[in-house]
Symmetry: C2
Subunit: 412 residues, 2 copies
Amino acid sequence: MTTDIFFQIVTPDEALARLFEHLSAVWPSERIGLDVALGRVTTTPLTAPEDSPAFARSAMDGYAVRAADTYGASEGLPAFLTVDGEVPMGAAAERPLQPGTAQLIHTGGMLPPAADAVVMVEYTQPVDETSVEVLRPAAPGQHVIQAGEDLAAGDALLPAGHQLRAQDLGVLAALGITEIEAAIRPVVGVLSSGDEIVPADAQPAPGQVRDVNAVTLAALACQAGAEVREFGVAPDDRTELERLARAAQDACDLVVISAGSSVSTRDMTADVIGSLGQPGILAHGIAVKPGKPTIVAAADGKPVFGLPGNPVSAMVVFGLVVVPTIRRLLGAGPADGPPRRRARLSRSLASQTGRIDFVPAALQQRDDEWWATPVLGPSNLIATLVRSSGLIRIPLDAGGLPKGAWVDVEPF
Amino acid sequence: MTTDIFFQIVTPDEALARLFEHLSAVWPSERIGLDVALGRVTTTPLTAPEDSPAFARSAMDGYAVRAADTYGASEGLPAFLTVDGEVPMGAAAERPLQPGTAQLIHTGGMLPPAADAVVMVEYTQPVDETSVEVLRPAAPGQHVIQAGEDLAAGDALLPAGHQLRAQDLGVLAALGITEIEAAIRPVVGVLSSGDEIVPADAQPAPGQVRDVNAVTLAALACQAGAEVREFGVAPDDRTELERLARAAQDACDLVVISAGSSVSTRDMTADVIGSLGQPGILAHGIAVKPGKPTIVAAADGKPVFGLPGNPVSAMVVFGLVVVPTIRRLLGAGPADGPPRRRARLSRSLASQTGRIDFVPAALQQRDDEWWATPVLGPSNLIATLVRSSGLIRIPLDAGGLPKGAWVDVEPF
């Protein structure tokens, strides 16, 4: 059993540090095509299999020249070169460049053998159909991308644990890499508990409400790169809750139980989570508002979370502890954190040091500045969810904030 | 035909303003389930179909009381109430609260008839199994969420043109809305041109390179909410390019042609785009670096874009003009723009007023500050794509920026 020392309120980072000690560092991968690789995470470092470009290319429209033929050229005393045809696009430039000649070349064209520079068309003057004046000297290598200058065979492309962006796919395609090893998406099991909760498609009887968290948390898990399996709503019955929780644990890689809002349901949920496997509960309560009544556990190698029933709390905690755990399973390492919008507070905000406060806020742009208006009122109102577009984060060691203060607002 | 006035360099906003004049304001919608609605765009305003909560609920664990029974209560002189059982969770509280009594109630429980307040359990003291002392007075309505207090039937939930977030789905679920009308995802046709370009799965012959842009732009279009159809690579042959462009125009709602890098290919692409329909080219050149050689056109009601072949340029322009057009088709209105990270410049940057400059940059966190290091070198190198994680935006009217200056960095 877990000892009492664990049942203290800890920071989200401390809770994650405890959890990650109990997770395997190895995660399975699968081979996937680039067309489905956006947002997936690499499991091996990727290197360039070949030089890019594979041949010296022109970076400009102009003439391929021998730089030495243009030394000293100026508008007053141009270099006179014979035009020896045109380099075809998309084909090998096979005809070597003879001294005293130039070949017309297009951006991206292959530099002919013996050419070592490109003169931009703007710095040339046609004389007749077969000759051209060069008005500026070209240095060797000018306007040429050398073979392997962009990427040389063996160059590092992307590290393991990298979440693939649109441009990464383009670079892989450019190098002929059309399949990669990607971390298999972890399966997140989502379960709600509480006698008063019914599924979204049910008609609640008096005293019942529909489940807000299952669909919200499922969507957040997908956004974080996981697959989702839903396990419905467990009543306030220990046997049934444990049965559903074990089913989720067996079928999934990570389990999220969103507990009902009453203390008795939360206590029962904690009891069940603690019984699922070793070592059990690692943190019971985190120093975050809203989100304090959170349970972080490891059960025989699988992370299990007990989230508050309050939807705003559940979302805040999901972002703080579940998303980093999904990323950890994917081998993706911690994210940089979401880009935040700098905004000014439209009213003062109280806070308490020693915990991280998150305040839902509506964002408005006035002139060139963004303003954040806290959406106050009981945090268990669902209207808060649709009226907010950001979360103001007040750090662990900060007290309140005055009206007009600049704050960082995370997307919400 | 378009007149010469159009062939001036315009800002991205002006190019979009011209384009949007020629697009229909009506876009088809379809009925979809909440499970596939994340990121989709509403086409009708959504209102609450019922009160939420449907009944007065307790916001705390404690006792349902008649507030009048607790007036004047204090630790020294508590109010003495008979405990008349417990309100069941998830069921109607049917037994009216008698004067001088209290009913045990849990957070989320239904307030019994005639009760008008909840006393937190912390402010009570059990006397025996059937009576309790209340140590503080309760005001009427205290710790009660009234029926319809959260959302009343008819209250606005979400406007038309709203891109659905995780929490929006939760709120819709809570209100029993399990299907919504969403804008049909527009189909974006992606086509590359240039004799030197071969598809990613081909082995390039000398002088050829693989297509970077098709896979990159397809991924960006998906991220923006569109579906994608790929039309391959057209050679530098007017007839073939026009055939493929018309096929894309017929099959898709928006066409993106990423032109080869040579001037002749770009000119041919412009010629084909201009011939696809009325009114034709609306902007030829935008005041953005990189990305100047961009074509914005409307052909018989469908937007057509000619993007630069350079991958960094193509990505920048895609974000500036194609993404807002996809959003316009979806009825989503302009986005707020991506959240930007505030970072300091690790070296000075030159810029020119009169155009928007975008500089790819690598972001590093040092202590508590983010620093942006411009990834310089020829902008046509694909290595730039993997080495950058952000785009520094230097506004239209700004000159250069000194080392250490604060800049806004968009995700890249």
